[in-house]
């Protein structure tokens, strides 16, 4: 159902008194992008049907007063829309634009007559009246910031005392104008640095004196000049671009859920076309898109790594997929580029039952409420089935480009926490991590020490059919470390594997931070006692690490195993391969000809192994 139809159906359900259905539609609506006019419409429906919505068993009514340093009507509609999706039927009160101080100080103001349960201070950098003078010391800047925060704190205290309401305070976004240009972030007295100082002080009070709504973070993610589109400020004193009110509403709902202890606890994922591209049942473990097989594969690995990080932050993971369980498990057990492992998942439901039944059993098994689950799936039919049967589950349709899956999930602010405790971080993990970084710092003073500290391990193998797609793709997209510019398609390339007078070597590298996988390949042929290199490529991610020396040492070994006495190389200059212009020279070759292309040779007998910081890795390359 498209957006307009969803809103229409939501409205019809309310009119006919089917509140349960209406609630399920509003949940679907709140996870897709809504225009200000959509949220205005929804907000009016909430006002019209407030009684019937409030009387629904799992809903609660909530009175929110918004004290704005700018026009807040658009964000109020967004708050009402998104909080309804989380089960709060909001009644709102808005102060007049920029009269918030008076409202707080005047005991007879509308604010107090309203008796709010939540008071939102919707202020922004536009409300900062005074900035530090140019040349102020850091101490002066901090003192000034403390004074301003103190003024806000006085207002919070008065409101808390008179109403007992929960206080939510915006922090400050960077000013759009950056007067110092390149030096904006150099001096503590610049407007931008002043904003940072204010925010640091506010964060220290977060969760104790009030809850901070991270406008700063959101404006950075959306882009500052988009966040505060100056047209809207001049037109109607809007401190936040109305186009972004959906984002704002999601962020607000995320914070309010965290305050109320209703943040999501568990992420339930589908597998095919969600964690990897393709269908493991049809394409097999080798055929699915994950890892550096392709750009799309990399996007899926990025999403999987992100999910793994969520687990480290304390989010429970579960699988719910229509698949053969053993086959699906193989991906986690055997695929070298799948960052998630079976023990990352608290539940692994792969069968042919309906997804809603599986999700219900996951919730039961984990002993958590249905409303603490998030389900992601690429298939709209499955999503619809789950959201119809289990309306409390947050269902996210992960369609489209996998490169944006993380962004899509993050925009919804589902997994908010108020604090991160030491326990959340998982002691051992973080200590190991810290150990790594420190040893890196110590040794990073010189290049040799740095390369040593990376603990690089590599291997060079004769390429097999399985390596072909990746090698072929590398030849097509590697321009810098590319000796001749020759490209191959899969059929040319398989010649190098099958024909005994030709060869193709591929190299893999990992270090203590990452497994880079297959990052280099050499093609060539052998006639009599001469090994001729046809082309050699290497991914730019592993440049300058002495990996080419490592590979070349292996190539020389290979040449002597093949009884070759000479290695010939060729360098053909292209627009972008200057990086390897003197590679042969560095490796100890001599130039014999430089007409159309440079021809180089090296006598195997007199070759001495080159210095490299890459160690030989036996077995499969793994982190």
């Amino acid at each position: 159902m498209d957006k307009s139809n969803l809103i229409k159906t939501f409205s019809d359900c309310l009119a006919s008194g089917s509140v349960a259905d209406a609630m399920s539609y509003i949940r679907n609506l709140s996870v897709i992008y809504l225009l200000p006019s959509d949220m205005q419409k929804i907000s009016r429906l909430i006002d019209r049907y407030r009684d019937v919505l409030s009387s629904f068993s799992s809903n609660k009514s909530l009175k929110i007063a918004v004290l704005g340093g700018f026009t807040t009507s658009v964000i109020v509609n967004a708050i009402k829309t998104h909080l309804l999706a989380e089960g709060w039927v909001v009644e709102s009160y808005e102060s007049e634009y920029d009269l918030y101080k008076i409202e707080v100080l005047d005991a007879s103001s509308g604010l107090y007559a309203f008796q709010p349960e939540v008071v939102l201070f919707a202020t922004g950098t536009v409300n900062i009246e005074e900035f530090p003078l140019a040349g102020s010391t850091a101490g002066q800047v901090t003192a000034m910031a403390e004074t301003l925060v103190e003024q806000f704190r006085d207002l919070w205290e008065i409101v808390k005392e008179k109403t007992g309401a929960t206080i939510i305070q915006h922090n400050f976004e960077y000013p759009v104008e950056q007067l110092l240009s390149r030096l904006e972030f150099k001096y503590s007295w610049s407007h931008s640095k002043y904003v940072e100082t204010l925010n640091n002080i506010l964060w220290q009070m977060d969760s104790r004196e009030m809850y901070l709504l991270d406008i700063f973070g959101s404006s950075v993610r959306c882009g500052l000049t988009r966040w505060l589109d100056s047209r809207w400020w001049y037109f109607g004193k809007f401190g936040i671009n109305p186009e972004l009110s959906w984002e704002y509403g999601r962020m607000f709902a995320g914070l309010h859920c965290a305050i109320a202890g209703k943040s999501k606890k568990c992420l339930v994922v589908d597998l095919d076309n969600t964690l990897w591209g393709g269908i493991v049942g049809d394409d097999g473990i080798e055929g699915i898109q994950i890892g550096n097989i392709s750009a799309t594969g990399e996007a899926y690995s990025g999403f999987c790594r992100y999910i793994k990080e969520l687990r480290k932050r304390g989010i429970i993971l579960a699988v719910c997929s229509k698949n053969d369980s053993e086959q699906a498990k193989e991906v986690f057990l055997k695929h070298s580029e799948m960052p998630l492992k079976l023990d990352d998942f608290a539940c692994f439901c792969c069968n042919w039952q309906s997804k809603s039944e599986n999700i219900a059993s996951i919730a039961e098994h984990l002993n958590i409420g249905m409303d603490s689950l998030v389900f992601v799936d690429d298939n709209p039919v499955e999503c619809a089935e789950v959201s119809r049967t289990l309306p409390e589950v947050a269902v996210i349709e992960m369609d489209g480009d996998p490169a944006y899956f993380i962004e899509k999930l993050e925009k919804l602010h589902l997994f908010n926490q108020l604090e991160i405790t030491r326990e959340d971080l998982g002691r051992t993990d973080s200590y190991l991590q810290r150990g790594k970084v420190e040893s890196l710092r110590k040794s990073a003073l010189n290049l040799e020490g740095f390369l040593e500290s990376l603990c690089m391990a590599g291997r060079v193998d004769v390429a097999t059919e399985n390596d072909l797609p990746r090698i072929c793709q590398m030849f097509n997209k590697t321009n810098q470390f590319n000796l001749t510019g020759r490209k191959y398609d899969t059929s040319n390339l398989s010649e190098y594997i099958l024909n005994t007078s030709k060869f193709c070597l591929c190299s893999k590298l990992c270090d203590k931070f990452a497994d880079y996988g297959l990052v280099s390949a050499i093609t060539g042929e052998i006639s009599e006692d001469i090994l001729r290199i046809d082309n050699w490529i290497m991914s730019c991610r592993v440049f300058s690490r002495t990996f080419e020396q490592f590979i070349f040492n292996h190539l020389v070994n290979y040449a002597s195993e093949m009884n070759c006495s000479t290695i010939c190389g060729e360098f053909i200059r292209t627009v972008r391969n200057n990086y390897v212009a003197d590679l042969f020279k560095k490796l100890g070759f001599r130039m014999i000809d430089s007409n159309d292309s440079e021809r180089w040779y090296l006598a195997v007998e007199s070759f001495e192994s080159l210095k490299t910081y890459v160690k030989v890795f036996q077995g499969a390359v793994k982190k």
Partner: protein, 78 residues
């Protein structure tokens, strides 16, 4: 769809009135709910629909359906 049909659809949506029939002569005076909030809703909806951008001046003075149609036509061609 013609510009006027598009405009009609956006207006019906923004003013939540499925019977609304806009004409080129209509102005903000004819639709009681056409306030500054509605103006924002209209502008953002048109910008989203056509991937165009209005200037501050245009946002402030554009209160006649006919003018809106002309401007949308011009911007869409750009």
């Amino acid at each position: 769809m013609s510009i006027m049909e598009d405009i009609n659809e956006v207006f019906r949506d923004v003013f939540d009135d499925t019977n609304l029939e806009v004409t080129e002569q209509m102005t903000a005076q004819d639709i009681s709910e056409w306030d500054s909030m509605a103006q924002i809703n209209l502008i953002v909806a048109f910008e989203e629909k056509y991937d165009i951008k209005f200037t501050t001046e245009e946002i402030s003075v554009l209160t006649c359906v006919g003018d809106m149609a002309k401007l949308l036509e011009a911007k869409r061609i750009q």
